[in-house]
């Protein structure tokens, strides 16, 4: 019997090839999107779960009352170590690291790498698979290094490289060989080796190298930038740590820190999903919802097309009933048809997964796991999916069609089924509403993203290129780099060059508490610290509000420059009023004179208000990372080539890896750009599915109404009249959907825009444009389809009665 159902179903599908294709394409798109989202969600949920003893692995995060005082993803250097040493029955193990960017080289290969300088416990604590070497001793000694398989292949083209050496450059311009003591298998995504997911570390050295790299000792309590992890003993609750942490802070830190800092141990498996205001979790929810909606649309489409196309199958249904088909048997037959269609769509989706994955990756900013990486039992998912969606989408048509009155059915005069106008319009309206909602969201996101990159940055990003330079953070190091800078400035394609620690990408080096000279030091405000040279302002073309910028040539001793926000925050009535005033840093007797006040510019992302900034000259705060070049408009590739050439001559120890400011902003706004891509994808999908649905319904409607068209034409209807006849229905559904979708979209998108301190205003025009666009596309589609029927000779359609 089943075989018979399948056979008949297959023939029916082939006979109604057009509708089957429409159905399959719609379902295929929906299912593919759903699978991709499923894969993404799965991979996000896998993060940190592969770590050994994952249910007991925690990261110590910091909550600073004044967010300018420290990072939330790091904490005080010795805390994790002391927890383990002082409370061994609570804490089983600990790992801390200081992340550094260093040039790692082997022979000709000079490459910047993210290096973790961390505790020797790393390899054992998390059970990372070691391909070669001894995990116990690998990170005990200075000048030893552990690398991943990727790195081994990159530098040596093989993996058994224990005993080989890699040269790592310090920040004091010295180079030392590091002996490879272990090679790890490639690491699955986790927040230990990849605390910032975009820059996972693949090179690990011991904390014993702190001196070589000139880093603050991990064992001083003033160091608040150390990523710290602990593993709890079995049966210990995380709340049991609250007391010990408070105790340790009390013993070792100042009242200010105790006042401001709360250390929260967070379960690693939870941390990945919940950090950054639950960013990943929210993405998962948003995408899952989008996926479900798209899938629902596809299913709705399927139902719509099935029910409408049933009109042409009424006679068959009637005959089947008369010759003894029971309702249940008919239901089975319809279900087997829908299951076959869903199966085809699902198989196509699985086949298209690897290709579509590449496009989808751009939207979620993360590679989608290949099919081969799923556990074997995942093979059951498409099977269950086929059954579930097949039944879900086939059930309604099956029940509806098998319930028809057979006498009517036999006569083929069935008005009741295909003509269930209200339901069909309702479903159509739902699809339109989703399409409108998603398109409006995509539109508004696009506008906001354009705003990020627009003219109100406060500086001019056009033709800005920056490159990281090797570090030698000493006075002579700075002097040498300034000399190099001046060499670059002489190039004909270069308008200006600046040496600084920061570029406006949101990553600044630190904070500094500042108060007005003469006031109580307790009134100190935390300002974001920038270290720049005297060309910074002119290179980035930030306007100066009052006073002067740095002069250079060591003439800026004791001088600082503020931004407007900082001047206001410190209580000066105007920018000009701040000039020449003196400020102090608590605990430092130096009096700093305010030399200038700049206009506000967006140093970080627009999600936050522009923070108060304070700038030191790099002569007096000798740290630097970037050379920023303002190129002259014109032949940019030639200018870059000239830069490259000069770089090789002046800085042979590092490669010239440059980025345009736009690329930096792309990184800064990666999430938003991803969201934009995701919204586009969802928008296009939603629209395609809606249009497929309309296409299917119109062609069926035409088929059913051929006679009506003929009669109307004989009565004098023009082609336009007839097109209108068909389009009317859809445009009405669209307008109705707009009434629902627009307020929802407005409300949702306003909520999203609230995340940004600086954002666009939603104008009603956007919605009008979108509704009009979709209406036009719908009308066009209906016209094209109807035109043929409308132009046919009515005699023909009326004759075949």
């Amino acid at each position: 019997m089943i075989r018979n159902y399948l056979k008949i179903a297959w023939r029916n599908i082939r006979k109604h090839a057009l509708y089957s294709t429409v159905n399959i394409i719609g379902l295929f798109a929906g299912i593919l999107f759903f699978f991709l989202i499923g894969a993404y969600v799965w991979s996000e949920l896998q993060v940190n779960r592969t770590l050994k003893n994952a249910p007991h692995q925690y990261i110590l995060t910091s909550e600073w009352k004044d967010p300018n005082m420290g990072y939330d993803l790091a904490t005080l250097g010795p805390l994790a170590l002391r927890l383990k040493h002082d409370y061994p029955n609570l804490v089983k193990n600990y790992y801390r690291y200081d992340g550094i960017t260093a040039i790692v080289s082997k022979g000709e290969k000079l490459l910047k790498q993210n290096v973790q300088m961390g505790d020797s416990t790393l390899l054992e604590m998390y059970g990372f698979k070691v391909l070669h070497g001894d995990p116990v001793t690998a990170l005990h000694q200075p000048f030893n290094v552990v690398i991943t398989r990727d790195m081994a292949l990159l530098y040596f083209n093989r993996t058994d490289v224990v005993g080989e050496t890699l040269a790592i450059r310090s920040f004091k311009d010295t180079v030392h060989d590091f002996k490879i003591t272990a090679v790890l298998d490639n690491l699955q995504e986790n927040t230990v080796t990849g605390l910032t997911p975009t820059y996972p570390s693949k090179v690990f050295v011991s904390v014993a190298n702190a001196g070589y790299f000139g880093r603050t000792d991990l064992d001083t309590w003033q160091n608040n930038q150390i990523a710290s992890y602990i593993e709890l003993q079995n049966g210990v609750k995380v709340t049991d740590l609250a007391g010990p942490i408070r105790q340790l802070l009390k013993q070792n830190t100042s009242a200010v820190v105790q006042e401001n800092l709360r250390v929260n141990p967070v379960l690693l498996t939870r941390y990945h999903l919940h950090r950054n205001n639950q960013a990943v979790l929210r993405t998962i929810y948003t995408l899952t919802l989008a996926g479900l909606f798209i899938l629902l649309m596809a299913v709705v489409n399927f139902i719509n097309v099935s029910v409408s196309s049933a009109g042409t199958r009424m006679r068959e249904i009637g005959v089947r009933k008369v010759i003894g088909g029971r309702r249940r048997q008919l239901i089975f037959q319809f279900l087997s048809e829908s299951i076959i269609l869903v199966a085809i769509a699902t198989l196509l989706a699985v086949a298209a997964y690897p290709v579509a994955g590449g496009i989808f990756e751009g939207a979620v900013g993360k590679s989608i796991p290949p099919l081969s990486s799923f556990p074997l039992y995942f093979i059951g998912i498409p099977v269950l999916f086929i059954l579930f969606i097949g039944i879900a989408s086939g059930l309604y048509p099956a029940f509806r069609l098998s319930a028809v009155n057979m006498i009517h059915a036999m006569k083929g005069t069935l008005q009741s089924v295909g003509e269930n106008r209200l339901l069909r319009k309702g479903l159509m309206g739902f699809q339109f509403a989703v399409a409108l909602l998603v398109s409006a969201a995509a539109f508004i996101i696009t506008q906001q993203v354009a705003y990020f990159f627009g003219k109100n940055l406060g500086y001019n990003k056009a033709f800005m290129v920056s490159a990281q330079v090797p570090r030698n953070w000493s006075k002579p190091g700075v002097d040498r780099m300034i000399a190099i800078r001046d060499q670059f400035a002489k190039l004909p394609g270069v308008a200006a060059v600046s040496l600084s620690y920061e570029i406006p990408n949101g990553n600044n080096g630190g904070q500094v508490p500042v108060y007005k000279s003469g006031a109580d030091s307790a009134t100190a405000l935390t300002l974001q610290l920038l270290s720049t040279d005297e060309h910074y302002l002119s290179t980035y073309q930030v306007p100066l509000s009052a006073g002067r910028f740095f002069d250079g040539y060591h003439r800026d001793s004791g001088q600082v420059v503020l931004n407007k926000t900082a001047a206001t925050a410190l209580g000066y009535p105007s920018a000009a009023a701040a000039i020449g005033k003196q400020v102090r840093v608590p605990g430092d007797p130096t009096l700093f004179t305010i030399k200038g006040v700049t206009d506000d510019f967006h140093f970080g992302a627009m999600s936050g208000k522009i923070p108060p900034l304070l700038m030191f000259h790099i002569n007096f705060n000798p740290i630097y990372r970037f050379l920023s070049f303002k190129l002259k408009p014109g032949n940019v590739p030639a200018s870059l080539a000239a830069l490259q050439k000069t770089w090789s001559a002046l800085i042979p120890e590092a490669s010239f890896e440059y980025r345009f400011m736009d690329e930096d902003l792309n990184i800064l706004y990666a999430k938003e750009l991803q969201l934009k891509k995701a919204a586009y994808m969802a928008g296009v999908l939603a629209l395609v599915i809606v249009l497929l649905g309309i296409f299917g319904m119109v062609s069926l409607s035409i088929q059913k109404r051929v006679k009506e068209i003929g009669v109307r034409k004989i009565l004098g209807a023009s082609v336009a009249h007839i097109i209108k006849l068909f389009a009317k229905e859809f445009v009405a559904a669209l307008l109705l959907a707009a009434l629902v979708a627009i307020p929802v979209a407005y409300w949702l998108m306003r909520g999203w825009l609230q995340n940004y301190a600086y954002h666009i205003r939603i104008s009603g025009g956007i919605f009008v444009i979108i509704v009009l666009c979709i209406a036009c596309i719908t009308f066009l589609l209906v016209s094209v389809q109807t035109a043929k029927a409308a132009m046919a000779n009515p005699v023909k359609s009326l004759r075949n009665e």
Binding site: R11, G318, V322, I323, G324, R326
Partner: protein, 224 residues
Amino acid sequence: MLLQLRGIYKWVNTGINRTFLLKDINLDIDEGEFVSVMGPSGSGKSTLLNVIGMLDDFDEGTYHFMGEAVQQLKEKQRTALYKQYIGFVFQAYHLIDELTVYENIETPLLYKGIKASERKALVADMLDRFQIVGKKDLFPTQLSGGQQQLVGIARALIGNPKLLLADEPTGNLNSKQGEEIMELFKQLNQEGVTIIQVTHSEKNAEYGSRIIHLLDGHVERKGQ
């Protein structure tokens, strides 16, 4: 007595008027009869046939089929009853276009849940009897009207019904094909199948043992 209709009324309400489709039909049909129902368009022939075939309800009166009071049966029981004892033949053949000749004939057996081997034997018999073995893999659209109707009759007979209901079985056929079909009916009747046919043609009606004339929903006169 195969079936007995007493005071059967069927109507539809159109606004305030009630239009009668069947009016006070009283009819007894014995096993082995071959009854022809005649009458002009709209006289209620097909409605009567559908009521007898239990495809359609009636509003008043009693209907006994093989001793069972049809009006008292539940939908399910009624379906079971007609499925077991009644075969239908239609003017427009009503074969399922997606199925081959073989499958069309086989479908009622599938719905009855008969085993594959038995099904095969029954269908083969039927094909043989109607001499359409060579056409068994063709689809209905590949056959002539007469051949299609043969398949339709074969399908109606495959369940071995007691009663064959035929609604203008020759209406779409030319006279020669029509004659063949009527000869077939006669032969079937002789083999013991009770037949009720609706027809426009006096000539075809003559094949029957009894003719019933309908006019505006009631029986005009009964004749031999």
